[in-house]
């Protein structure tokens, strides 16, 4: 009785079991919706606005992939995940992509069976302190209390860093960025540590940001990128090359406004291949020729997304830094579309 009610509920709500399809791509297409795991709330990267619409830098990746695969960037179901349950959500199939400022590490790639599709933000772990504490370097933090999100790489980095420098600290564990902010603002910890981008986003949102400083030390490498399940290479390719398409689009000057125009007029063979005018790149992984065009139109190229969500004109005000194109001295380098 109960069981059938459950089955009925499944059928009614149209949420029903995509029973055992072969690939994630087929699942997503059959479902007509992309399940995307995002941060439950980090201003600039992923946060629901007053109407429950998700916005942010990580969210834009989801939109681009949905646009490429389903033809509509709005056909995304956002699954807010804490740092603790994000990998399980991915490996258990609850989400198709994990786009949640997740650091690409060896053990996550190999042991946790994730596949990182690339890097959408080169980050590093930093510290934020109150200005009136008079601290200018992370090396001076011996004996301090540090707020830290549990279940993150930053937790391990922090332990390593203080050990390597022969310092002591008291961790104050928090579950989400919101809690971390609250504890830090209340003074429950001397410093708050997380990815530098996250610190900047957090600091920008304070009532008086000038009372806080981000220390110069970056104690780790945090290449953040979207991850997919290990073992479904086709799906991994789609996410990887959607990301690359956004990066390449910026390099070649393809923006959401001129993409239509360039598609018909561009002479650059790389742009023509990217936008599906030449060759048959889309069909190679089961999409149509316009996949990249749609991905770019969904939220703009990499540069546009960056500027709109976390760039210098937003309250978060992150400079491009390492995340500039390789031609501008940054690390973004999309492999050729060929």
């Amino acid at each position: 009785m109960k069981r059938t009610v459950c089955l009925g509920a499944l059928a009614i709500t149209g949420l029903s079991a995509g029973f055992a399809s072969a690939t994630t791509l087929e699942d997503v297409k059959a479902r007509g919706e992309l399940n995307c795991g995002v941060n439950s709330g980090l201003v600039g990267f992923a946060t629901p606005d007053a109407n429950g619409n998700w916005v942010g830098f990580d969210v834009a990746i989801c939109k681009a992939v949905a646009a490429a695969v389903l033809g509509d960037g709005s056909k995304v179901k956002y699954v807010p995940l804490s740092s603790q349950n994000r990998f399980t959500a991915l490996s258990s199939g609850e989400v198709d992509i994990l786009s949640r400022n997740t650091t690409w590490t060896f053990s996550r790639d190999v042991d946790l069976k994730l596949d990182f599709a690339g890097v959408n933000y080169y980050d590093g772990q930093g510290f934020m302190v109150r200005k009136d504490l008079g601290v200018t370097s992370a090396k001076e933090l011996d004996g301090s209390t540090v707020c830290i999100q549990t279940g993150t790489t930053t937790e391990l980095n922090l332990a390593d860093y203080f050990k390597a420098n022969g310092m002591e600290y008291q961790p104050v564990s928090v579950d989400t960025n919101a809690e971390g902010e609250q504890q830090f603002l209340a003074g429950a910890c001397d410093s708050y540590t997380t990815d530098a981008s996250g610190l900047a986003a957090t600091r920008a949102a304070f009532a008086n940001p000038d009372d806080y400083v981000i220390l110069p030390e970056i104690i780790s490498k945090e290449p953040l990128g979207p991850a997919v399940r290990h073992g479904d290479n086709e799906w991994g390719d789609i996410v990887r090359w959607t990301l690359n398409a956004l990066i390449a689009a910026e390099e070649y000057g393809v923006t959401s406004t001129n993409v239509e125009e360039l598609a018909s007029s561009s002479e650059n063979p790389e742009v023509r291949r990217l936008l599906g005018q030449e060759g048959d790149l889309g069909a190679m992984f089961g999409l149509d020729a316009d996949w990249a065009k749609r991905a770019i139109m969904a939220g703009g190229n990499y540069g546009e997304i960056f500027a709109a969500t976390i760039g210098e004109s937003t309250p978060i005000g992150l400079a491009r830094g390492l995340n500039a194109q390789w031609t501008q001295g940054g690390l973004l380098y999309a492999p050729p579309f060929r």
Partner: protein, 438 residues
Amino acid sequence: MSDLHAQTVPYVRDTMLPEQSPPAAQSGAVRWLRENLFSSWFNAALTLLGVAVIYFFIAHYFPWFRHGVWNAASLQECRAIIAEKWGPEASGACWAVIRERWNQIIFGFYPTELYWRPILTFVLLFVAMAPVLYTQLPRVLLWGTVAYPLVAMWLLWGGSIWPVVMIAFGFMLGGVILRIVSRWSALGALVAAIVVPVLFWAFLMGPIDDDLSYIAPIALRPIGSDQFGGFLLAIVIGVGGIVMSLPLGIMLALGRQSDMFLIKTLSVVFIEFIRGVPLITLLFVASTLLNYFLPPGTNFDIILRVMILVTLFSAAYIAEVIRGGLAALPRGQYEAADALGLEYWRAQRLIILPQALKISIPGIVSTFIGMFKDTTLVTFVGLYDPLKSIPDAIRNNFEWKGIYWEPFIFVGVIFFVLNFAMSRYSMYLERRLQRDHH
């Protein structure tokens, strides 16, 4: 004797004295104060302590409430208004956040223009419960109660109406088959009543649904589970969990009392296991492990998964409540049922359960209150509960960064009002039922 009296007493008053009011210390407010507040030194000390506590709270928090601002677009604006009106040192509540975001706390991210759907569902809940609670109402209304879960699901999640109709039809089909076939064979009827609807749902439902949707596309706008949140989510999970757990709980309670060793063992193991682990670990199972135990590629809605685990959880508690009800029935009731020659299920259905369930209603209500409070734990599996996730989401906006107490107070008051009302109602029921019993 009377002569003697008259003679020995020289003066006897023969008119009544006018009635006098009792001394000041024995009447009115003073007497009340003496009796209720200052009856002993210890009590007087306690009273003074109580007054001090009340004064402390009022002195510290009343200004905060009084300075409250209802009209502002952001926390900064609130603070500016308070500073302007009450001086730079004053602190005050910024109720503007509630005014602006109350709908998120209540409905989550449900589309604003569709609020009538959850509201209607909520109202219908009382309509559906009425025939259960008030036995005076005509019994026909119970059919509405039975249909309510399907209607509620359709209203909340939307989509085409035909799958709902198909499911209801399947149940009716089962019922009819049970009626007809049981003339020949009770067991055959039971098997057929289960197998035929399942076959119907599995094979016929899809095609018929497609055709009907094509012929008469009656549908509501579908709303995804990710748009549920706030008290809407809490009530959906709480009510859904309790409703689905009732039949399971009854089965478990009967199983625990069964003579059959295996059934009894299974029931006891299940009940004790569920009651022995915290709900939060079960929610973790819903969010992480459940998919591992289902066929590869199965993936269904997180709210549904949470509801399944919440159902299992509350079923164990309901089973214990009902077991109490069963145990409270006088032995004679069981013996009377046996004496009438009723077989097990008939005895349970006609004699035992109606009485046991009636006794258990207060217990079920308090299980529900506990359940309802525990729905806030879904925040730890990434659902938008009203207590933590929604306020966190509100705080994530630049305007409301750093707002803390106001959403807590708002949510706390709503929880209090709902739960207090329910517990009072269950106490009233308890009294009424007690009277019935004697």
